[in-house]
């Protein structure tokens, strides 16, 4: 025999762009052969992934080649939901859209509801919506992780994932709370790898021991929804033992700020001087002084006695609250499912690492009071959390509690702790407030989304009714910084608070896995009035693929795949910065579309021009931008500040500078991204470090230095409480007063959010997790990924498995107060004893995603969404209460409670409910795949 050594495959070139297989935005090297994309691996130079790439990213080639790709604009020909369409031209499609949108804009712009899902161009889509004039715009944050994002920004001036990260190279103890496998995808895996290499301890606090929790050195299989209680118990232990960083609290947080004790409209708010500066008690001069005075010595224990009133510090209020024995480990053990000795052991380990293994870097720096420091000292304990602790009705306060713990340790923006990524740090006060003033034929009065600071900032009409279709920024959920996308279909269908004309979605599978109450949502989208017309008159949808949602649209505007488009990953919204550099990136068409499709952003630019929206036309009436790439280069949000920071002006300017027509070419030459490194003396202590503040101004992140104190005491919460107590002119409806008083505590609290769900014996928590190798429903069309995650049994812990006598291949009926499903089960010991779970979004509707009828996803596969309602079960008070966090409106997916029983397997082997098949507008995929580009 002759040996036939394999010959290395040859590629013509490598094109470097940005992945879009999830929201992580890694750099990818697309290997080209004969003009086609053949193989993808990670870009070694890229700041996010430094060469590595996850399963989703490496399988991007199969998503790019998916048989489910839409081919041309389509107009619905059958009934809504049927999937019957005819292909039309782009001219026809745009004309049709304009025929609906034009009259709306002229008469009542709010009758357009425009919501985007996995949108990575929010600074652009929001700008379009603002120019259109509707108040009804948001992306999907409200049903994803707004609690984590908003709590982070209100508390620390930044949040986990995109806006901050653990100091992976220095941290010695890392605590990971809840489901967090997906955001950040590769950086967390890389970080865990670094920790393992250095022998640092990884602690997982999660009802499910899979994925990252499988490699955790210690696993705390907590009862879902009790993370806040566990955290407050840790706080209790650490405070009681004095294991808190007093100097840090004194110098960089609001702990020494004096809180007004006088009964009245200001009670519980910070005392301020005439210029609005918060006051602290100066230990040296024994009088109240401005917090940022050059020589102030803030006193955490200070009191200011005025007459018979004693104003005390935030820290004094924290002592009262958290030293309470109600937070002792013994008091919380049963509820959290973690024994008191284990809670103490965890608290003690945090204390040990924070205060016995502190890290001091010899780096000089100057703080905002003008004081020089010779070193930077940190407590090497770091944390991460995302949707797991976020998607509960008590999630906002739980996320705040976690940040309070970080702050008490002095582990925010210090070596070994949590580090911000530009454009963060940026406090809530530096963000816009929400805007909702509608003027027919004119733009909205400002950005839709933002951070409210009290009742005056709510989006209410003069008569007190909600201004927005999703009721964001109302008394029901005042601080809903990301909107409430999960309420849009239901409110539009109910005409509550008002009827709309056109529902316009981008990249959001609202007729399936992205909605609560999926069966009901499909019915609402297709519901008709007595005259036969649709309750929601028009639905426009843009996606690249034949998702379940496509069938419910009247007009389809087909998007490209991520390898066929321009995009900017911009500092104006969600960039790819790292703790030591600002960074942004582009996508560019490494291949041209072979279908009659175009990027959604280019479609919006064309619609903007046809509608005559301000900013979309030149003075002579011609379109201002030819396509999205043109916008990326030439749009200026403020003079000299555009979507991309790199190679501006003459090509040598970063951050600020005039538009440069060669900008995109320069990005491509550099591998698709741009980085601006932070000077060494500015890399820590950023909120207070003048070297960082000045650097950020120079780059254009701020227009002036914006130092601030970390915010343990959340005054916006207190302002809503004051209103609920009867102060002020803008008053909540009476039925919400008690809830606001109870839950809007300015210091983090915990309450049992499951109580609203358990009546009737629904006492098992049902969760979902997103697999590391699958992103939402998108992964289900991927020939390689679906071989990894094509099945999703319901995983049961040993206690439930044995109690109900389950055996392999058994099925269960799972019932919630809202509905029931019948699904296959599997045994999993490494699971909280009263929790069941399955993989998220694996189940598919028959006919969608070009899958064949024997696909497991539309047979055994299932969604738990059918069990979850957007409203809470009726309480008997005649009111309808949203299944959301009362502060932010975050969808409380993980408060789901169920009962379970063993049933005979369905004869057809299909899970229930099994909705009828949709017609597929793209056919189905082939029977055999031998993928090779030659």
């Amino acid at each position: 025999m002759t040996r036939q050594d394999p010959i290395p495959p040859s590629f013509d070139e490598v094109r470097k762009t940005t992945c879009y297989q999830c929201a992580c935005r890694c750099g990818i090297d697309v290997h080209m052969k004969n003009g086609r994309a053949a193989y993808i691996e990670g870009n070694r130079d890229h700041p996010v992934n430094r060469g590595v790439l996850c399963a989703k990213g490496a399988a991007g080639i199969m998503t790019h080649n998916s048989p489910a790709r839409l081919r041309a604009p389509m107009k619905r020909t059958g009934p809504r939901g049927s999937g019957q369409f005819e292909e039309i031209t782009w001219d026809e499609a745009l004309d049709l859209a304009v025929s609906w949108l034009g009259p709306i804009r002229d008469a009542a712009p709010e009758k357009l509801a425009f919501f985007t899902g996995r949108d990575q161009s929010q600074s652009f889509t929001s700008w379009w919506a603002q120019a259109f004039g509707t108040p009804n715009y948001a992306a999907h944050g409200g049903f994803c992780s707004v609690n984590m994002a908003a709590a982070g920004i209100y508390t620390m001036g930044g949040a986990f994932w995109e806006f901050g990260q653990p100091d992976w190279e220095r941290t010695k103890l890392f605590l990971l709370f809840g489901v967090a496998e997906d955001h950040d995808s590769n950086p967390i895996k890389m970080g865990l790898g670094r920790l393992k290499e250095r022998g640092a301890r990884v602690v997982g606090i999660n009802p499910i021991r899979s994925g990252y929790n499988a490699v955790a050195d210690d696993w705390f299989g907590i009862t879902p929804g009790t993370d806040g209680l566990l955290i407050l118990s840790l706080v209790h232990c650490l405070m009681k033992a004095g294991k808190i960083d007093l100097a840090y609290l004194r110098d960089f947080t609001d702990a020494p700020v004096l809180i007004d004790a006088r009964p009245g409209p200001g009670q519980g708010l910070a005392l301020r001087d005439d210029d609005g500066h918060a006051l602290v008690w100066c230990r040296d001069q024994q009088k109240p002084r401005c917090f940022d005075a050059h020589d102030v010595d803030p006193d955490l224990a200070g009191t200011w006695e005025v007459g018979d009133v004693t104003h005390r510090t935030v820290f004094a209020h924290m002592i009262d609250k958290y030293l309470d024995p109600a937070y002792a480990p013994e008091a919380v053990a049963e509820r959290t499912g973690i024994s008191a000795p284990r809670i103490r052991a965890l608290a003690a380990e945090i204390a040990r690492v924070a205060f016995e293994e502190e890290i001091t870097l010899q780096r000089e720096w100057t703080d905002f009071r003008g004081r020089r420091h010779a070193t930077m000292t940190g407590r090497p304990v770091s944390f991460h959390a995302m949707r797991g602790i976020s998607a509960h009705a008590n999630g906002f306060q739980t996320c705040r509690a976690l940040h309070m713990l970080q702050i008490l340790l002095g582990a925010v923006e210090t070596p070994g702790g949590f580090r911000f990524k530009p454009p963060y740090p940026k406090p809530a006060t530096a963000h816009p407030k929400p805007h909702c003033k509608v003027t027919p034929g004119a733009p909205l009065d400002g950005p839709h989304l933002g951070f409210v600071h009290g009742p005056d900032d709510l989006c209410l009409n003069v008569d007190g009714t909600p201004a927005r279709i999703d009721k964001a920024f109302t008394w029901e959920n005042p601080m809903s910084a990301h909107g409430l996308m999960h309420m849009v279909v239901s409110n539009a269908h109910a005409g509550d608070p008002y009827e709309i004309d056109t529902l316009f979605f981008y990249m959001a599978n609202m007729a399936w896995n992205s909605s609560m109450n999926t069966t009901g949502t499909m019915a609402m989208l297709a519901d008709t009035k007595p005259d036969g017309s649709y309750v929601i008159p028009h639905i426009i949808y843009s996606d690249a693929y034949s998702s379940e949602m496509v069938a419910f649209a009247d007009l389809i505007l087909p998007d490209t795949t991520y390898l066929e488009r321009h995009d900017c990953i911009s500092l104006l919204d969600r960039p790819i910065s790292e703790a030591e550099a600002a960074a942004d990136a582009i996508r560019w068409p490494v291949v041209a579309p072979d279908r009659d499709v175009q990027s959604f952003q280019t479609t919006l630019i064309q619609l903007g021009a046809r509608l005559g929206l301000p900013g979309f036309l030149r003075d002579d009436g011609a379109p201002r931008y030819s396509d999205y790439a043109d916008y990326m280069v030439n749009h200026e949000r403020r003079p000299g500040i555009g979507p991309l920071m790199g190679w501006r002006g003459d090509g040598e300017e970063t951050g600020r500078g005039a538009p440069n027509s060669a900008q995109i070419d320069r990005y491509i030459e550099n591998g698709g991204f741009c980085t601006a490194h932070i000077p060494e003396d500015a890399q820590f202590m950023k909120p207070w470090n003048m070297a960082y503040q000045d650097w950020a101004v120079e780059l254009g992140l701020y227009d002036r230095p914006t130092p601030y104190l970390l915010t343990l005491w959340c005054e916006p919460l207190r302002r809503f409480q004051l209103a609920a107590e009867g102060h002020g002119t803008r008053q909540p409806p009476d039925h919400l007063r008690d809830r606001i008083r109870a839950t809007f505590d300015p210091l983090p609290i915990w309450w049992d959010a499951s109580e609203a769900h358990t009546a009737g014996g629904f006492d098992i928590t049902a969760l979902t997790q997103r697999p590391a190798a699958m992103y939402h429903s998108w992964g289900g069309q991927n020939a390689w990924l679906r071989q990894i995650h094509g099945y999703n049994p319901l995983y049961l812990p040993t206690a439930l498995w044995e109690r109900h006598g389950f055996a392999e291949d058994d099925w269960a009926r799972v019932t919630s107060p809202h509905g029931e499903i019948t699904v296959p089960v599997a045994h999993m010991p490494a699971l909280n004893a009263n929790t069941v779970w399955t993989w998220n979004a694996v189940g598919k509707r028959r006919g969608a995603w070009a899958l064949r009828d024997d696909a497991p996803e539309s047979n055994e596969g299932f969604l738990v969404n059918h069990l979850i309602h957007e409203l809470l079960p009726p309480k008997g008070d005649g009111m309808r209460w949203s299944n959301s966090d009362p502060i932010t409106g975050q969808a409380a997916w993980f408060d789901l409670k169920v009962r379970i029983e063993r049933v005979a397997p369905p004869k057809d082997g299909r899970s229930r409910p099994a909705p009828a098949a949709q017609a597929t507008p793209v056919g189905t995929g082939p029977r055999l795949l031998r993928w090779k580009v030659t």
């Binding site: 024994s339 284990r342 795949l929």
Partner: protein, 258 residues
């Protein structure tokens, strides 16, 4: 039947860290992507958009285990992710069983390969391999296995840092290591020595080149009542004061000291 070469002086292989693998499947797909695009026949997928079953050279299995604590009590249950591909055995039964000589082990680096032109897809190698590391490619009618990316690691047109298997290059957690296991001074050999790396199923007598680094002992933060020993962490939580209301006094003194 096919003969094995004399024991290779260089034994290239993988060292896989089970303490670090999060089961993300990045290696599985990187392998699939590279090896469909190589000069061998692509790794086919049957019914890829229905009840799919395709050819993969590397798969991850997940196990639930409940270890014993010292003293015999059950510990907390664990999930272990276990990536598995060809282990490039010194005594490779898949080679010696091959009736055509298509399967062979390279003398120069120990890699076990299949000459696809000579393979008739009889499947004896899959039967002989105790690890289930061989798969039939139904479309090509031949047997497939991990090549250790022999078309990457020896490709001198690639930069040196790129001469590693696709699975190793892509692993986000850094759980996969590649090198010469026969060289005691290589990075992989040092890792095996430090971490107590093991052979998979040594009783099979296959002498695998690939090694696994076992998971470290877990769940040690237990507190005194379970560990049954002195609670060494307890002093870190000693209260600053036992006096009611004494905390503010402590605070005042502590602030004076700052």
């Amino acid at each position: 039947m096919t003969a094995l070469p004399p024991e290779p002086k260089v034994k290239l292989g993988l060292v896989i860290d089970l303490d670090t693998c999060v089961g993300c499947h990045a290696c599985v797909i990187a392998c699939k992507g590279w090896n469909t695009q190589g000069t061998n026949a692509p790794l086919s997928d049957q019914d890829p958009y229905g009840d799919a079953s395709g050819t993969f050279l590397n798969r991850i299995h997940s196990f639930q285990v409940t270890p014993e604590r010292p003293g015999g009590a059950a510990g907390l249950p664990q999930t272990v992710h276990f990536p598995k591909s060809c282990l490039h055995c010194d005594d490779a039964p898949c080679v010696t069983v091959c009736p055509t000589g298509a399967s062979f082990k390279r003398a120069e680096d120990g890699i076990v390969l299949v000459n696809e032109n000579d393979c008739m897809g009889c499947g004896l190698c899959a039967w002989a391999c105790p690890y289930g590391a061989r798969e039939v490619d139904e479309a090509a009618g031949i047997m497939k296995k991990c090549t250790l990316c022999v078309d990457r690691i020896h490709d001198e047109t690639r930069p040196e840092e790129e001469r590693q298997p696709a699975c190793v290059r892509t692993c986000p957690a850094g759980a996969r290591h590649f090198g010469d296991v026969a060289d005691p001074d290589s990075a992989v050999s040092r890792l095996v020595a430090e971490r107590g790396g093991v052979d998979l199923m040594p009783e099979q007598g296959t002498r695998p080149v690939n090694k696994y680094l076992p998971p470290r002992v877990k769940d040690t933060l237990q507190g005194a009542d379970i560990a049954g020993e002195e609670d060494v962490l307890a002093p870190f939580l000693a209260p600053v004061t036992e006096e009611p209301g004494g905390f503010l006094g402590w605070l005042d003194r502590a602030l004076d000291r700052l």
